[in-house]
Symmetry: C2
Subunit: 351 residues, 2 copies
Amino acid sequence: MRGVSRMVRLRDLARQVGVHPSTVSRALNGAAGARLAPATRARILALAAQTGYRPNRLARSLKTQRTRLLGVLVPDISNPFFAILLRAVEQATRAAGYSVILCNTDDDAEHFAQHLRVLGEGHVDGLLVATARRGDPTLALLPTLRLPYVLVNRRGDRDDEAFVVSDDAAGGRLVAEHLVALGHRRIAHIAGPPDASSTATRLAAFRARLAELGVPLADHLVVPGGLTEEAGERGMAALLALPAPERPTAVFAANDLVAIGAMAVARAAGLRLPDDLSVVGYNDIPLAARVAPTLTTVRVPLGEMGRRASELLIRRLQERRAPLDGACQTVLPVELVVRASTAPLLPGGAD
Amino acid sequence: MRGVSRMVRLRDLARQVGVHPSTVSRALNGAAGARLAPATRARILALAAQTGYRPNRLARSLKTQRTRLLGVLVPDISNPFFAILLRAVEQATRAAGYSVILCNTDDDAEHFAQHLRVLGEGHVDGLLVATARRGDPTLALLPTLRLPYVLVNRRGDRDDEAFVVSDDAAGGRLVAEHLVALGHRRIAHIAGPPDASSTATRLAAFRARLAELGVPLADHLVVPGGLTEEAGERGMAALLALPAPERPTAVFAANDLVAIGAMAVARAAGLRLPDDLSVVGYNDIPLAARVAPTLTTVRVPLGEMGRRASELLIRRLQERRAPLDGACQTVLPVELVVRASTAPLLPGGAD
DNA sequence: TACCATTGCGCAAACGATTGCGGAAATCGT
DNA sequence: ACGATTTCCGCAATCGTTTGCGCAATGGTA
C-alpha cells in the first residue's frame, strides 16, 4: 500500500515457485532435519536471491519470540567511558548477530524506569545494564521484566545477579599506595555517585588502604562530585576554599573527566601541577594521555569488559534458565598507569 | 511457556472484563471517534492498570507497520563528536516516543551495507545517517529500503535528500581568516576523510579563502589524516618531517581530536605551543577547552544539529510522502572560538 | 503384489495485536 | 408505541512468519 511495489513476502515467493509458504520457510531457514528435495530448495533459494527477498523480522519475531535486539542502558553516552564501553558492546553483539537499542538514563531513576517500560514491551531479547545504583528501588524492576540481563561496570544490591565489573577495590588501593609512596599525607577525594558500586567501592578501598598505611583519609577532604568535568570543577573549588594549611597536596578524582575538570580549576587558581598538587584519575580513557600534564590513572579494561558482558548475556540467551554459576560473575583486573600528574610531595626530596 | 506466569495479553483482559478483544484495543488506544461506553472503558482501563498490562509491541508493529524505532548510523561512537550528537538524538527521539537502534560503521562500506540490510528487515521506521560519504556506492542503497531517512552532519551525492548539517564552508573560511590575521603565511592542513562532505567542504572553503587572502595553501602542506588522535599524530609527524624552512607555522586540523593528537606530537618534538606553532581544531567538543593549551576551534551546534535532524525525521514519518521542501535541508551556523592554541606569528609584533 | 519406511511437502493453527463493517440495543421524536 | 437515529460493541480478516502434524507419493523388501 505504501510504496509503489510492495515488499516481497514469503507468500509471494511460494506462489511464484509453486509451493506452499511453509516450504519456502523451511528452505530458507535450512531447519535441521528439514526433509526437502534439493531441487525444490535450489529453486526457492534462487528466486529468493533474485528477488532480493528479506524476511520480515517483525513477523518472525512475533512467532519465534526472539528479536535479536538487545537493550543497553548507560548513564550518559557523551561520557567517553561509556561511549567506549558501548562501542565494544556494539561490536561484540553485532558479531553475534544482534543489534543494540541505546538507552540513556542520566543516572535518573525516572528515565531508567521509563526505558525499562518500553523495553519490556517485547522488542528486546535481553538487557545490558551499566546504570545500576545500589538502593535504587527502580533497579528492582529489572527482574520483573522476565528478561535475561547482565550488569556491567556497576553491581547492584543482589548477590545472585550476573555481572562483569572491574576490580574497583584493587584500583582504590593502588591509588592509595601510589600517593602515600610519593610522600603525600593530606590527601583528598572528589567522589562519584555514592550509590554506584564502582565509585563507592573505589572510595571504600582507597580509604581502608590509606588507614592501613597510617594516613587516614580526613572526612572533610572527601567532597561530593559526580562523573563529569563540571563535577571536578566544583569539587576542586570546594577543596581550594579550605584554609591553606588544610588543603590537600594530592587529589584522587572519581574518574578521568573529574580529574580533568579539577586540574583546570587548580591551574586557574595558580597551582602548578604536579608540583603543588598531584592529581589521579580513574579509567584511563584515551584522553588521559593527552591532557597536560598527562594524567596518572587506573586503567580499566573497558573493551574487555564490554565484550565479556555481551558474550555472557548472549550465552545466557541461548541456554535459557541456565543456573547462575561462577562464570556469570566476573571481576577484571586493573592496573595503575603513572604519568605526569603525580609527583613526590617535596621537590628535591630524595625519597 | 517461558516464565512461570505468562505475560498478560489483550485477550486475557477481554475475557476477564467480558468483552471482545477489539473493544479492549479501542479502550486502550482511545481511538479517535471511538464510540465506547464510558463505563466499559473505565472497567477495562482499571483492569489494565491493575494487571499492569503492556501491549506487545511486536504484534502491534506487525499490524500497524510502525515500530517507533529509529536506526542511527554513526561512524564511530567512541568519537566524542558523534557521542554528543547521538546523545542529542536520543533525547529528542525519546521525547517523541521513539527509541534508537545504534549502528557503528567505522566508516566502512561493508559494515554500512550490513547494517542497512538488517535495518531494512522491518525493525525501524526511519533512519538517521551520520555516515554519508560522497561517491560511496553503498550510500545509494539507502533509498532502496523505502524508509524515510535524514542525513546529518554529512551530505551525500544527491540534491534531493533531506539533511541537517552545519556550515562547513563558513567554518573553513573563519579559520583561514583567523590564521592570516595572525600573520601566518606557511599554513598546513591535516585532512579528514576526503569523501565526507563535512571535512571536504571545510578544506575546500579554507583553501579558497586563503587564496583570496593572498596566502594560497601549498599542496605539500595538506597531509592526509582522518578523524582520530592517531590521525593527528601521523599528520603532524609528516609535517615535522619536512625540512625546517618549509615547516608550517600554523596547522588547521580536521577536527579537535586530530588537533589534540597533533599537538601532542608537536610538543614531544620540542615545539612550544602556540609560540612555535599555532593549531586550530574543529567542532569544539568539551575537551577542546580542557587541553593545554586550550584549543582554538570552530563551534558546531552539535546538540542543535542532532535535535533538528531527529525532529525532521519524525516529521517526515508522520506526514508520509511529504514533498522535500526547503525546510528539509538545513545548514546551521558555526562560530569561531579563539583560545590559547593560536598566537600571532611573530612574538612581540604589535599587530 | 502387498506392505512398510521413508521422503517431500501441504494444511492450518499459532504469535498478539488492529480495524472496517455491520448487527443489536438504546435513545429519541412524534 | 413505533420507526429513525445514534451508540456500543462483536465478528472476522489481517499483518508475515514459523512449525507440528499428517497425507500422498516413492522406493525397497519380501
